[in-house]
């Protein structure tokens, strides 16, 4: 029912494009949700794109007149970008960069957390950032395989402080909802982690049936899992206990 209502609002929005497109209050529902491994994301009227070393900011308030506003150097081997409210989290092979996005036309680097060489998608909420580090595969290098949680409250964001580490095999994409963090571990499964206490993340269960999990998007009561060969949908009405309900994959 919620999805249906959502779609109806969307439809009326499209019909009323001139009226809706300038309203900033609608931006969250207007732009849907992506995964933690994306290189491109939309926040409000802006599209952010990361290549290997730079962040590009586009104004998409009038899509037909999309304009590159600016390009800024971030670092080397950038892989992912994830928006949360007025922040952008950028994952590279050597660290996490937090950009203040309160001026969405020109995000400003606020802080960064360095780590040893590895792959590292990031998700975040108001006060904490969650980063997975994965070794070796796809030429990422390094030897770490773990989840790191960083405190980004207040001025801590200037130099995010690591508050917890949880070791696990080959962690990749991740998604957060209601203090439950879902971490994809390739063929090792999907790790369901309770992060109520940020200093003590607890793995509640691992879904593992040979599926190769790459990334996830928690979406209301549905968890969308991007797996090798397609996707699987889980019901997460009880977030700790995802139930497989549908799939399209080969």
């Amino acid at each position: 029912m919620k999805l249906k209502q959502f779609l109806m609002i969307m439809t009326s929005c499209i019909l009323l494009v001139p009226g809706c497109k300038k309203g900033d209050t609608m931006t969250v529902s207007e732009s849907g949700k992506g995964g933690s491994t994306a290189r491109m994301t939309i926040s409000g009227n802006y599209l952010y794109l990361v290549d290997h070393s730079k962040l590009h900011t586009y104004d998409i308030s009038d899509p037909a007149q999309t304009l590159l506003l600016n390009t800024q150097n971030v670092g080397w081997n950038i892989e992912t970008i994830f928006p949360y409210r007025d922040k952008l989290f950028i994952g590279s092979q050597t660290g996490m960069f937090v950009f203040d996005n309160s001026n969405p036309k020109k995000p400003q680097l606020q802080g960064q957390a360095q780590h040893l060489r590895s792959c590292d998608p990031v998700v975040a909420d108001e006060n904490f950032a969650y980063v997975t580090l994965r070794s070796n595969n796809n030429g990422c290098g390094g030897t770490l395989n773990q989840l790191n949680i960083y405190d980004i409250q207040g001025i801590n964001v200037l130099s995010p402080k690591q508050v917890a580490t949880l070791m696990m095999p080959a962690p990749q994409g991740l998604g957060l909802t209601n203090n439950i963090l879902y971490v994809c571990m390739g063929t090792n499964g999907l790790n369901v982690i309770d992060v109520t206490d940020k200093t003590k993340p607890v793995s509640k269960k691992v879904l593992s049936d040979g599926t190769d999990f790459i990334d996830v998007i928690p979406y209301d009561h549905t968890l969308i899992a991007y797996v090798k060969g397609g996707f699987i949908l889980y019901n997460i009405a009880n977030p700790e206990d995802p139930q497989k309900i549908g799939a399209i994959h080969n």
Partner: protein
Amino acid sequence: MKNVTLMLMGTLLLLSCSNRKNEVTGYAPVYGDLSEMTGVSLEPARTVENGGKVYVWGDLLYQVETGKGIHITDIADPAAPVQKGFIKAGGAQEVAVKNGLIYTNSQNDLVILKIENNKLQVVKRLPAAFGQLSSPALPPERGPFECPDRSKGIVIGWQKKTLINPACSY
């Protein structure tokens, strides 16, 4: 005249001799037709082969078919997802959606697409916005390679083969 012919034949013989001596294993460009490669179109739903990144908007799930395009699936009933169609977009790796407009890459271009009455429309194309993501300007390994010939199209990849006197190397 006869002398000239003989000389030419001699030269050709010499060339073929030296050619045999300079056979090396290296990379040769694989060419693609630019308009064919950067064209986008709406097609019937197809089987997911090498599913890529996902993006959800309303009841619709968009999943990249790595290098080929985007599958659109209605997940209003998560127990019974329904494939609605496929956007062909060569080189596709990324997807995001806002107000029903689909933002993706067509090779190295950023494209903004709109589906209306079952027709796909390109709202905007920004050439080379993904400039450094997938341009295979050089072969994957160092060594000799066959120089790209622009008249044959644009280079979309490299294949290893036996080359005769390759003029390029890095």
